[in-house]
């Protein structure tokens, strides 16, 4: 379903993703793990047409995103790591906007929005502006929005960050359901190793832009001789704390600051 070959992304002389290759099969739940700044989000952005790779090949659902952007976008859905809601619209309007953009048929639009907003317990607040929402509520809305249409592949970039255990549990049940019923392929990143251990069929661990290990959670544990994934992860990536890679925006700010000082 997802094929990646020798994928590389450079920002100036910084290599964010360094010659990685992997495959994700149809209906597989694939965990993509790594410390901060390892290249997870950059990879997801390239898979979802938001960034152009420096080199290498990607195939999503048999389509090359570099050549057929619009076509590729029809086959996936994504929940972003950072906020992507319109704060000036209400929760319902955000959902409806998404449903129209993703061509959810009009007759199932309303019931599904209601179902999902109930699922994240925001139905009562559907007519409030998102700017008045708390951080947790925004996150829940974002998750609900990601499930509005049922794509062939769903990308989840740290979806459970900041969610309470109840919502988290509910979310994974929903994803498992989609995965079983509609054969949805799931590609997710997380920092919660216990979560990855529980839900992922297969895992790849990326560090410094390179894939350092991949396999089932059991294989990774066996490979490192540890009895839980957290220890295996630390064994593979070391225990040094990483600096978060600057986003495009931060880099831009830095550049413009330097420019002004000159």
């Amino acid at each position: 379903m997802i094929k990646v070959k020798n994928l590389t992304k450079q920002f100036g002389d910084f290599t964010a993703v360094d010659n990685i290759s992997f495959n994700v099969e149809k209906a597989e739940i694939f965990g993509f793990l790594g410390p901060n700044g390892a290249g997870k989000s950059t990879t997801i952005k390239m898979l979802t047409t938001l960034l152009h790779p420096t080199s290498g090949e990607i195939e999503i659902n048999g389509i090359n995103p570099a050549l057929h952007q619009d076509k590729v976008r029809e086959s996936f859905g994504i929940v972003f790591q950072d906020p992507s809601l319109d704060e000036e619209l209400t929760a319902y309007e955000n959902m409806n906007f998404h449903a129209v953009l993703y061509k959810v048929p009009p007759e199932i639009r309303k019931p599904r929005i209601e179902e999902l907003l109930n699922f994240v317990e925001l139905w009562d607040k559907r007519n409030e502006f998102v700017k008045n929402y708390s951080g947790g509520m925004k996150r829940r809305l974002e998750i609900a929005r990601g499930f509005l249409h049922h794509p062939k592949i769903i990308f989840l970039d740290e979806p459970t960050l900041g969610l309470d255990p109840q919502t988290r549990n509910y979310m994974w049940n929903y994803i498992n359901d989609l995965n079983k019923k509609e054969q949805t392929t799931v590609f997710f990143t997380t920092h919660y190793m216990e979560e990855a251990d529980r839900v992922a069929d297969r895992i790849a661990i990326i560090d410094h832009g390179k894939i350092v290990a991949s396999g089932t959670p059991e294989q990774l544990k066996a490979q490192t001789g540890k009895d839980n994934l957290e220890d295996a992860f630390l064994e593979l990536t070391g225990s040094k704390i990483r600096e978060e890679e600057a986003s495009g925006l931060d880099r831009m700010r830095m550049r413009s600051k330097m420019w002004r000082r000159r």
Binding site: L50, H52, L85, N96, F97, H98, L101, M252, R253
Partner: protein, 248 residues
Amino acid sequence: MSTIYILWLRQIKRYLRSRSRIIGSLGQPVLFLVALGFGFGPIFQKAGQGSYIEFLAPGIIAMSILFTAIFSGVEMIWDRQFGFLKETLVAPVSRLNIMIGRVFGGATASVFQGIIVLIISMIAGFRVHSVGLILLSLVFMILISLLFTALGTAIASMLEDFQGFQLIMSFLVMPLFFLSGALFPIQGLPEAMKIVASVDPLSYGVDGLRFALTGASHFGIGIDFAVLTIITFLLLVAGSFLFSRIEV
């Protein structure tokens, strides 16, 4: 079609909800109308040019459209910063449609703004030349709106944050306005200024609008219409190209 509609609707909702912005952006045209209109009125009259308010009002309408339109386009930088741009960019719709929806939405808001200023100028003493030609003035308002919303969107496609916004205001928007013949007749200008005014697309917008509202024109209505249409089209093409290349 539904993509264009929902993006248009979003722009309209955002516009109507930002009351402070609507009112705020009316302050400037009102000030210009009153201060310049009444301030320069007597001199203009003495110079044998007739009523200055009559001359100025179409220019001020064009100005308020210019500002609203450019801002609607540049507003996309907010979307980028708040992350909402990503949401639209990964959607399974063509970026051309996204761009068109945005531009139409911004342009509609700008036309609305232009109509409000027209009404305000009428309160200030401006009289339209012929009621039948009001429809023609609407055509020009739409053209000016489309042109500058497309320009704003094209610019916003190249900017990552608001750092460059001041630069755009001082080196693009302000010159576009002040050199356009919105405030003074182009006829009597020195040759160099005349040339500058004739490469400023807003000149043709102001001129067309002035013809529709007062019956006077410098370039001729046909040329105004043709120039605006062609430039709008070119900007839409350039804007879609830049928009399609956005990376987040």
